[in-house]
């Protein structure tokens, strides 16, 4: 297979996807061992989306994330230790344990916030795009959200404003077919959610969300459009989540229409398939293994760091509400 991308770039894409995968497998382990408070929504299976999109970005660009946000953080190079510590509710986490999995914020990586409100982050990311336009910088914003978030009013209001004002933003639908148990096809009438773009006069693109290079390509075009003042793009990435909605969801609803649904998507695993793909492109098993080892070490360090970190002091509950009170 041919690609315009360098070997180094391909390896780095693989590294990121593999890191997401391994990181979240460890999150799931913590849950199973009863060491994780609350719940987490895993990105397993959707790795190519965040990886491909973020590959098209600059360091100072902005990301609006979701309840299923670990992948976005990893793709932006967030610190795995601080992430895992946050997920375990430790004082050393990104948000000092106040946010948890659903609210990890990493401002140093341009992550404006994960958000527990479906659709809640879309206008916020749009505001960051307005801010970039206002300040006259070269920055753009990316707003990630799920298929079902496209049915919230904030989706509509945000895209309309971005379209009217040519804001530098990319809207990325992570269409994994479900909002919890509800099949998006039962609550919406269009085959492709990208068609929503038609109502706003902006481009709407459908992309194979299991193919990291396809995603990157679509994102690059959208980023170029945004940076050159031509406004937003809506990209729909067709993807699938390996697990239930959250770590505790058996996901019985999936067998409802097609008993083979999960299996057929898993065959197209973005991590495994991309591994095969790059091995067919002058990259050696050894090079890949080296990356996997390094990732493994990084993940284990994060796990240990998180485990060994202390819980916050109860008095901390009363700080950080305001910057000054």
């Amino acid at each position: 297979m041919e690609t315009k991308y360098s070997k180094k770039h391909l390896l780095s894409l693989y590294e990121i996807m593999y890191k997401m995968r391994r990181f979240e497998e460890e999150v799931f382990e913590f849950y199973k061992k009863g060491m994780m408070p609350g719940l987490a929504h895993l990105y397993l299976g959707e790795e190519a989306v965040a990886t491909g999109v973020c590959a098209a970005l600059n360091e100072d660009d902005y990301i609006g994330s979701t309840h299923r946000g670990h992948g976005h953080l990893v793709a932006r190079g967030a610190d795995l230790g601080k992430m895992m510590a946050e997920i375990l509710g430790k004082a050393t986490g990104y948000s000092k344990g106040k946010g948890g999995s659903m609210h990890i914020m990493a401002m140093d990586k341009g992550i404006l916030g994960a958000n527990g409100i479906v659709g809640g982050e879309i206008p916020i990311a749009t505001g960051a795009a307005y801010s970039a336009q206002y300040r006259g910088t070269d920055q753009i914003a990316v707003s990630f959200f799920g298929d079902s978030a496209t049915n919230e009013g904030t989706f509509h209001e945000s895209i309309n404003m971005a379209a009217a004002w040519n804001l530098p933003i990319i809207y990325v639908i992570e269409n994994n077919l479900y909002g919890i148990s509800v099949d998006i096809r039962d609550v919406t009438n269009t085959a492709n959610l990208a068609d929503r773009a038609l109502g706003y006069g902006i481009p709407g693109v459908v992309v194979d969300g299991m193919d990291v290079l396809a995603v990157q390509k679509a994102a690059e075009e959208a980023a170029e459009r945004a940076r050159s003042g031509n406004g937003p793009t809506l990209i729909e990435c067709k993807t699938y989540r390996w697990q239930g909605h959250h770590v505790g969801d058996p996901a019985v609803y999936r067998e409802r229409k097609d008993s083979n649904e999960k299996a057929s998507w898993m065959e197209r695993c973005p991590v495994a398939c991309f591994r095969d793909q790059i091995l067919s492109m002058k990259i050696t098993e050894k090079e890949v293994a080296k990356i996997e080892e390094a990732v493994e070490a990084e993940v284990q360090t994060a796990v240990t760091f998180a485990e060994e970190s202390p819980y916050p002091d109860p008095a901390e509950a009363y700080t950080d509400l305001f910057s000054d009170l």
Binding site: H103, A149, I180, V182, L321
Partner: protein, 324 residues
């Protein structure tokens, strides 16, 4: 009597009312095929079908508004909001619309709609999934506000809510769903506006809501050992409020503590204190007091979250202070 989970008591109330009246229908996210995020409608989809037990898209303002339209045209919708925090996504439809239409129409129409939604912290669900929205609901006129304390109460009050011709906000406590309770074989509707003295006492009146009722009873049992006799009142409904029962009790005990899990500021404790003040002032032997959630966002880490939640211990301690 029989044993039942709180969540199943909710489900039974829904089922019995739907059975009784085919104008009743249920809408919300994930209420149908999987029977609800907290499993409060298991089986109803199979029994009543897709039109009557409806999985909605994630469009809270939209489907609450649809509920209002149904209620105006002869149906009696029950709307589930997955977490009471999401009332804020639909706040305009609830407060500016559903709650005001009867009034704005000069009484031409009624809006018989129930919005059921879980409140409460304790699951490390963090700031956007842990709030208790009953004071918010009570602040605005036009909604009845129900805060059941256990499975029997939940079942009886939910039936009343569904039969009521007005918008009712029905708050289920999410830490209760998996709790087991004994309930009557047949649970009759429990009238709104009648508080329930669940434990008589003479030294102090504790008015509690939702899961704080049981906690208050436990506190009262502990206080008993110290020779303090606490009367515990299950408020049941915040709107309408049974002022009389509270006033009579405080006149007897001379002390009032309100325990409710909503944020403290402009909360239920403040309201009850202000509401009965004129009637009880000259009987008071100590300042009226309240326990609520302190005025900060709810944190994720259990190390931070648990200290913020009203507990049996906090109630015991507060009462002891009030008795000094």
């Amino acid at each position: 009597m029989r044993e039942i989970l709180y969540r199943d008591a909710i489900c039974e109330a829904l089922d019995e009312e739907m059975e009784r009246d085919d104008r009743v229908l249920l809408l919300g996210e994930d209420v149908a095929f999987i029977g609800g995020n907290f499993k409060t409608s298991v089986g109803l989809y199979d029994k009543y079908g897709d039109l009557r037990v409806k999985d909605t898209p994630i469009s809270e303002a939209g489907f609450v508004g649809m509920g209002t339209g149904m209620a105006l045209t002869g149906l009696r919708p029950v709307i589930e909001l997955m977490f009471s925090d999401f009332m804020l996504v639909a706040a305009d439809q609830i407060i500016n619309n559903a709650a005001k239409i009867t009034y704005m129409s000069g009484g031409q129409v009624t809006v018989p709609m129930v919005i059921r939604t879980p409140i409460g912290a304790g699951r490390s669900s963090a700031a956007q999934h842990s709030q208790s929205m009953q004071a918010f609901a009570a602040h605005f006129p036009g909604m009845k506000v129900v805060v059941p304390s256990n499975a029997q109460e939940a079942k009886g009050l939910l039936k009343t809510a569904i039969r009521d011709d007005n918008p009712v906000l029905f708050f289920e406590h999410k830490m209760e769903y998996s709790n087991k309770y004994m309930i009557d074989d047949v649970v009759e509707p429990i009238p709104f506006g009648m508080a329930n003295i669940v434990r008589p006492g003479t030294d102090i009146t504790i008015v509690a809501t939702s899961s704080q009722v049981l906690k208050s009873v436990k506190a009262a049992e502990i206080l008993e050992k110290d020779g303090i006799s606490a009367e515990v009142i299950d408020l049941r409904t915040i709107v309408p409020m049974d002022r009389e029962t509270i006033i009579q009790s405080v006149k007897k005990t001379g002390r009032l503590l309100v325990v409710d899990e909503a944020y403290e500021r402009c909360g239920i404790g403040a309201e009850i204190g202000a509401d009965v003040m004129d009637d009880v002032f000259y009987y008071l032997e100590a300042p009226i007091a309240r326990i609520g959630t302190p005025n900060v966002s709810l944190p994720f880490s259990p190390a931070l979250e648990f200290p913020l939640i009203p507990t049996v211990e906090k109630t015991v301690e507060k009462v002891k202070k009030m008795m000094k």
